[in-house]
């Protein structure tokens, strides 16, 4: 990223957002580690893990907002990229278990031992090295997105058709990963991780570090997204979103643009998944479920599509609500609330929280400005009149 791209991408809202995330990323781990347990301001470890999960969801939401909010591509299969990134990380964590598995097999993960697998499948090679796994976290979702996007965008599959086939894609992957023969642990997925880069995944310090890393990833992801959308490429994306064929007639290769953001977005989702897995402790095919991807889209809608900050905020708000409402007496009504949220947001809050706030802010600014220049001439004079 060149410096001018960085400066260009930071407006006031973006800066505030970055500062808040950075502050959380530093303060929460510090409070957890340094303050005595049980003190009023100490953040309990389970909350660190919980918020770490929210931050990963926020990254996923950013990824979705980049393509949906700015380029009009509604992917109902982004959970697939998230899950693939998660699996890549999960495979690394599985290999790290080594002889500490219940069967003590130094190479094979437990689920392979008890299903009588004799040797490690080829696609598990290399995952014992962190750098390789980290590369795969980006590469596998990116490659899938590239191939899928290359086919779909070149044939101009757009709008709801694209949404439906992305759903088919994640559904097919769901079925595939459920299959035990596939070699990813079937329905049980990958779990019982021990350590990451030599640190115990369950230690408070590791959790705090993972949380801080997730915040860092959110910051980087946000900066990348901002850099993209505030460049000229961002204007082209919006042009594609608003009038695709017009953009084409101006000589832009629309499919290349779509492919670019789709792939970037998939890689981001993969990173989110990779950070999510060690914090949650399990990756299983249900992450591929179409419902999950649709839910992720609603986070973006709640926060405000096309605002980036809103997407991240939406992910946190909705997931916080989910945590809150799935406990206690309200538990049976959680689905009612989630469903109602989908409906109300689309009907009453089409711009989402941040979008609406922005619009309100802008209009109140305008009013103030208008009040101060009330005597000025209307600027409609120069406009040609419309013939009806």
């Amino acid at each position: 990223m060149t410096p001018h791209m960085l400066t260009r991408s930071l407006d006031r809202g973006a800066t505030i957002f970055l500062l808040v995330v950075a502050a959380l990323g530093v303060l929460i781990p510090l409070s957890n580690l340094l303050l005595p347990a049980g003190s009023f301001l100490q953040v309990q470890t389970y909350l660190v893990a919980l918020w770490g999960k929210y931050v990963c969801y926020a990254i996923l939401a950013l990824a979705i907002d980049l393509i949906w909010g700015y380029c009009g591509i509604l992917s109902l299969g982004h959970g697939a990229f998230f899950a693939l990134g998660g699996y890549a990380m999960g495979m690394y964590l599985m290999r790290q278990i080594g002889t500490r598995g219940v069967y003590g097999n130094p190479i094979l993960p437990d689920f392979m031992v008890f299903l009588n697998w004799q040797k490690l499948p080829w696609y598990w090679y290399g995952f014992d090295m962190f750098w390789f796994a980290a590369l795969m976290v980006l590469f596998v979702p990116g490659l899938l997105a590239f191939c899928f996007g290359w086919l779909a965008f070149r044939s101009r599959v757009t709008g709801v058709y694209l949404s439906i086939i992305t759903q088919a894609m994640t559904y097919a992957l769901l079925l595939a990963f459920f299959r035990n023969d596939f070699g990813f642990g079937g329905n049980n997925g990958l779990t019982d991780f021990k350590d990451i880069l030599g640190f115990n995944v369950q230690a408070d310090g590791t959790r705090a570090a993972l949380f801080a890393l997730s915040c860092l990833a959110l910051i980087i992801g946000f900066l990348i997204c901002r850099a993209i959308v505030s460049s000229k490429l961002g204007k082209v994306l919006i042009a594609v979103r608003d009038a695709e064929s017009r953009t084409r007639f101006l000589g832009y290769r629309v499919e290349s643009y779509k492919l670019f953001v789709f792939t970037v977005s998939a890689c981001m989702a993969g990173v989110a998944g990779a950070l999510y897995v060690p914090q949650v402790g399990i990756i299983n095919p249900s992450e591929f479920a179409p419902g999950n991807s649709i839910e992720a889209v609603i986070w973006v809608a709640v926060g405000g599509r096309g605002t980036l900050v809103g997407a991240a905020l939406g992910a946190v708000v909705v997931n916080y609500a989910k945590t809150f409402f799935t406990s206690g007496v309200l538990a049976p009504y959680w689905l009612f609330m989630l469903g109602a949220l989908f409906i109300l947001v689309t009907l009453l809050l089409p711009k989402g929280i941040v979008g609406t706030f922005n619009a309100w802010w802008a209009s109140s600014n305008e009013k103030r400005a208008a009040a101060s220049v009330s005597a000025a001439a209307e600027d409609g004079v120069t406009e040609p009149k419309m013939a009806e």
Binding site: I238, D242, A243, S245, G251, Y252, P384, A387
Partner: protein, 253 residues
Amino acid sequence: MNVMDTRATSAMLYLDGVHVSFDGFHAINNLSLTLEPGEMRAIIGPNGAGKTTMMDIITGKTKPDEGTVLFDGVTDLTRLDETRIAELGIGRKFQKPTVFESQTVQDNLLLALNVDHSVRGTLFWRGSRAESERIDKVLETIRLTEARNRLAGSLSHGQKQWLEIGMLLAQDPKLLLVDEPVAGMTDVETHLTAELLKEINKTHTVMVVEHDMTFVRELGVKVTCLHEGTVLAEGTIDQVSSNERVIEVYLGR
């Protein structure tokens, strides 16, 4: 099929024997048309005559079932897609004004400039003085300098028409296809638009589709009348408007 001449045609645009049908409906039927470099041509014809479909064919949106479409004498347009055709230098204004409504007037023009259109190029783009000067010039031409920072969606209908023409100018194509530029404009605006097009024609080849006969007359150029996907008459406005068939199917008695 046509046997192609060994020598390339001198025409800017050359259509010969073009057919296209949608589910059995012949939208374009053995259409042949030639546009010389530097020429401005007005296309008239009743609804469903195939005017817009013809533009779709030229710009690559629709592929003809058969026939030849050559650009600049050599390039076979039927094999290319919209982007490639736009890159070759064919610009198009749509029947319904199509601008990027959620972006400013200035950004609309910036997007239209014929500079590097690759993903890389736009990602690492930094504005240059030359570019902003060109945008300023176009803004002046289309009388939208005052509105440069307004969102295109907030413009009036006529302003959007002009902005779209402005985008064509920024694109600086060799051939401009202009579909109903004065629909919904006042008489004054119509007149100004005609002036603008004539100005543009000094440096570009232009094809204008229009219903407004006053406007067509004001352009004062060669007219082609289409009917049921084929050329009904061609000539000056007076020749065409006195043609029996044209009067019967289009102008009315």
